[in-house]
Each structure stands twice: as structure tokens, then as C-alpha cells.
């Protein structure tokens, strides 16, 4: 079973060379720490920055320079600043190759719910609805089951949706799964020490298992 860092580490392997990537808040933010040296990647922050760098040193902190999670950040050489309209313009024009974000639920059709729980204070969708409506590739980083032990990989979402038919891949503490265009979670990899049976029990949506399922490889 993976911890949060493990999930981030596994997702980092998914990042193609020379790609523009938007990282959501939470586990996705950790992904930046595990990009292999030979992979060139440019991180977009939807509040108006391409070329986001690591968190600043104390002496570098600039209140005018934050990411979409409102954390202080730095810019890498070659960074560019733009306004919110252009930021979402480039998202909708599919200039961002990959979006990695968290979710409360994902359906076997690739629908995602990650912004609202009825009866609870709703904070808002932020940029998530824009990102999931347009990204070419969307990977969800989340726990396989919720705190009540219920599966978050469902036949259809029960919570209000953020977007439909958009999630391409899911990485959880138990497994890597792809969402098939015709519907269904195809099991691609098991987390270290996790059995297929454990994954079956934790998955309520249609799970497709073909042949031997390898254990995730980390180097």
C-alpha cells in the first residue's frame, strides 16, 4: 500500500518529456518533487504562471508570487506571467498536456466529483471545472476508499459532478487504473504488497482485470 508520497511518486512516472502540467492541491502538488531529472516539464499554475519553481527560501518570499493553492512559490528561468483569462484560455485551448488532481469520487465512465458535498459548506470549484472540461489527459490522485471505507471508484458518482467523461487514469494507495472509453476501470498495476483481491473489494465500479497484474515498479 502506498502513502501519499508513494502515490505522487508513481504519478510522476506518468509525466511525458516536454509537457505542460497543471497540478491540483494536495497529493498532486507533491508530484513535482519526483520528476526524473531527464524529464523536462513546465508547471502551470492557473492563477497566471507558467514555469512554477519550488517553494522559496525565507529570503525569497514574495507575497505577489503565489500558486493556485495560495502558497508562496518561485519562478524558474523562462517563466511567464499572464492574467486569469489567458490562463484559462490556454487550458481550454488544450495547450496544457496533463492535469493531475484529487477527487472524492470517479465513475467508471470517467466522471469526476471533487468539489461539493451536499449538506457541508461548499468552498467552490475554483479552476477544477475548467481543467477537467478541457485537459487532454487527466490523472486523478486519490485514496481508493473514503474514511467510511466506501469505494470512491463507482459505477456512477453520487456527489455533484465536476466534469464528465474526462478522467483517463487513477492512481490510489492500492492501484493504477485506466478508465476505458467504453466505461470501466482497467486494473494496470497493484501497489507493492496489495493483492488483486484487495483491489476488487475496494472497487465498486466495473473493474476489468486482464491477465497478470504487475506490481508497481519504483526506481
Amino acid at each position: 500500500m502506498l502513502d501519499k508520497e508513494g502515490i505522487a511518486k508513481r504519478i510522476a512516472q506518468e509525466i511525458q518529456n516536454n509537457s505542460y502540467v497543471n497540478l491540483g492541491i494536495g497529493i498532486p502538488t507533491l508530484v513535482a518533487n519526483y520528476i526524473p531529472k531527464h524529464i523536462h516539464v513546465c508547471f502551470q499554475s492557473e492563477n497566471g504562471l507558467l514555469g512554477m519553481g519550488p517553494f522559496p527560501k525565507e529570503s525569497e518570499v514574495d507575497p505577489d508570487l503565489i500558486n493556485a493553492g495560495k502558497q508562496t512559490i518561485t519562478m524558474l528561468p523562462g517563466a511567464a506571467i499572464f492574467d486569469s483569462a489567458m490562463s484559462f484560455g490556454m487550458i481550454h485551448a488544450q495547450k496544457i498536456d496533463l492535469t493531475i488532481l484529487g477527487a472524492m469520487e470517479v465513475s467508471e465512465m470517467g466522471d469526476i466529483a471533487n468539489w461539493k458535498i451536499p449538506g457541508k459548506m461548499v468552498k467552490g470549484m475554483g479552476g477544477a471545472m475548467d481543467l477537467v472540461a478541457s485537459a487532454k489527459n487527466i490523472i486523478v490522485a486519490m485514496q481508493h476508499v473514503n474514511k467510511a471505507g466506501e469505494s470512491k471508484l463507482l459505477p456512477s458518482c453520487t456527489l455533484p459532478l465536476t466534469g464528465i467523461r474526462c478522467v483517463k487514469k487513477i492512481v490510489t494507495e492500492l492501484a493504477v487504473l485506466s478508465v476505458l472509453p467504453e466505461g470501466g476501470f482497467q486494473l494496470l498495476e497493484r501497489a507493492p504488497g496489495v493483492s488483486v483481491d484487495t483491489i476488487k473489494k475496494a472497487t465498486l465500479g466495473k473493474l476489468i482485470i486482464e491477465g497478470d497484474i504487475p506490481e508497481m515498479a519504483f526506481n
Binding site: E46, S84, A85, F88, D130
Partner: protein, 231 residues
């Protein structure tokens, strides 16, 4: 050049009145018009409709206006980090309309570009689409979203000149430059106000034609919401 300079924040906001719709620039607490917010708080203008990506925190930004119950409705994409906001919302004192962040930006831009409405894929298949017109272009569905119509846009820039030209610093540009285009009256507070000719025309983010009043702000606190450092 046409002179947009006003003496101070009081003059800049003199005609904002109860019930007006205000756009307020900033993302989180980054790039918010601190001086104008303070003056609106002091003037106790009521029943405001505020279009702003966020709603500040309990004791800063739009949170200061919420604390005084000056806001009737917020139109935002994300309103976390604010307990008083939550209390007013749950008690029914405050109305909130949550919209996707890109939609918020595009509805500002549409107003600034004379476009009555724009099409966006954000929100298709979600409750955001309820009651809205959906149209398919090239096999993909889009929502029709109207341009905003706000009495005032209130923005904060880094540098500005008396002709109203604005330059923003780093990610404090965010919604400031798109909102600056979108107000019937646009009020800009700047950290440094200079004479025309000082700023490079090539580097202007918001041309002065969009700005109606400009003044040099003071005492910027620039509070950081989530200071995060590399040790």
C-alpha cells in the same frame, strides 16, 4: 494625455453606493485592492454584490466587508478560508453564486471586449449548467455565459501612470487586468504612481482607456495566506 488621477481613495470611491455591483481584483489575498476595501469598510456601504475570485479571510480582504455585513451576494469560484462567510451563508444572510474560475475570467474579459456572451466547456454535465443554454460545436458541448455588468471594477496594480496605464507584478496580475477592462467605472490603486512617459508603452498590461480613476495607495500589508518555504 487624459488625466485619471484622483487625490485619494475617498475620491476614488466617492460614488459607490448601497446595492452596487463591484468587481474586486486579486487571487486569494494576492493583489487585492487593500486601500479601496478599507475605505469601503469605513464608509459602511451596504448590500453590495461582489464579483471576486475569493472572499478573503476572516480579518483581511473582502473578509473585512463580510464582517460588517456589507455584502449581499458573492460571485466567486472559491470561498474557503473564511468562517464568518460560512456563518452568514448558512444563516441565509449572504447569497453566493459559485462559478468556474475560467468562466469568471471570461465573463470579465467579455465585458472588456464588448462581447455579450462567450462559450465555455467548463461546467458541462454539472449543476453549473442547469438552466443555461448548451450548444454543440464540432462535437463538443459548451455553455453560453453572459458578460458581467458591474458598476465598478476595483483593481490593484504595481505601477501606474496618471493616464491610467497599469503594470502588475508577478501573479498579482491574476484577475486584476481582466477586471480592469470590465467595469463601467474602473478604479485602480497602485503602489507607485508616475507621470505619463515613465512607463514603457510596450510593457503596459492595462491601457489607460480602461481606467477611470487612479491613485497611489499606501500602507500595503500584502498579507500572505499560506507562506510556504523550502528549508
Amino acid at each position: 494625455m487624459i488625466d485619471k488621477k484622483v487625490a485619494n481613495v475617498e475620491e476614488a470611491i466617492m460614488d459607490i453606493k448601497d446595492g452596487d455591483t463591484l468587481m474586486l481584483g486579486g487571487f486569494g489575498l494576492c493583489g487585492i485592492p487593500e486601500n479601496c476595501i478599507a475605505a469601503i469598510v469605513q464608509k459602511r456601504i451596504k448590500n453590495l454584490i461582489c464579483i471576486s475570485n475569493n472572499a478573503g479571510v476572516d480579518d483581511f480582504g473582502i473578509g473585512l466587508m463580510l464582517h460588517q455585513k456589507q455584502v449581499k451576494k458573492m460571485i466567486s469560484s472559491y470561498v474557503g478560508e473564511n468562517a464568518e462567510f460560512e456563518r452568514q451563508l448558512l444563516s441565509g444572510e449572504l447569497d453566493v453564486e459559485l462559478i468556474p474560475q475560467g468562466t469568471l475570467a471570461f465573463r470579465c474579459m467579455a465585458a472588456g471586449y464588448g462581447m455579450p456572451a462567450i462559450y465555455t466547456p467548463a461546467g458541462i454535465g454539472t449543476e453549473v449548467a442547469i438552466g443555461k443554454e448548451i450548444r454543440n460545436f464540432n462535437g463538443k458541448d459548451y455553455l453560453l455565459e453572459n458578460a458581467f455588468d458591474a458598476n465598478f471594477a476595483i483593481v490593484k496594480a504595481w505601477k501606474g501612470d496618471t493616464a491610467g496605464n497599469l503594470i502588475f507584478k508577478a501573479t498579482s496580475r491574476n484577475f486584476n487586468s481582466v477586471m480592469a477592462m470590465a467595469g463601467k467605472i474602473t478604479i485602480a490603486e497602485v503602489e507607485e504612481l508616475v507621470e505619463p512617459g515613465v512607463l514603457d508603452p510596450n510593457q503596459i498590461h492595462t491601457p489607460g482607456v480602461y481606467v477611470h480613476r487612479i491613485f497611489q495607495g499606501s500602507h500595503y500589508e500584502k498579507r500572505i495566506e499560506k507562506k510556504t518555504i523550502t528549508v
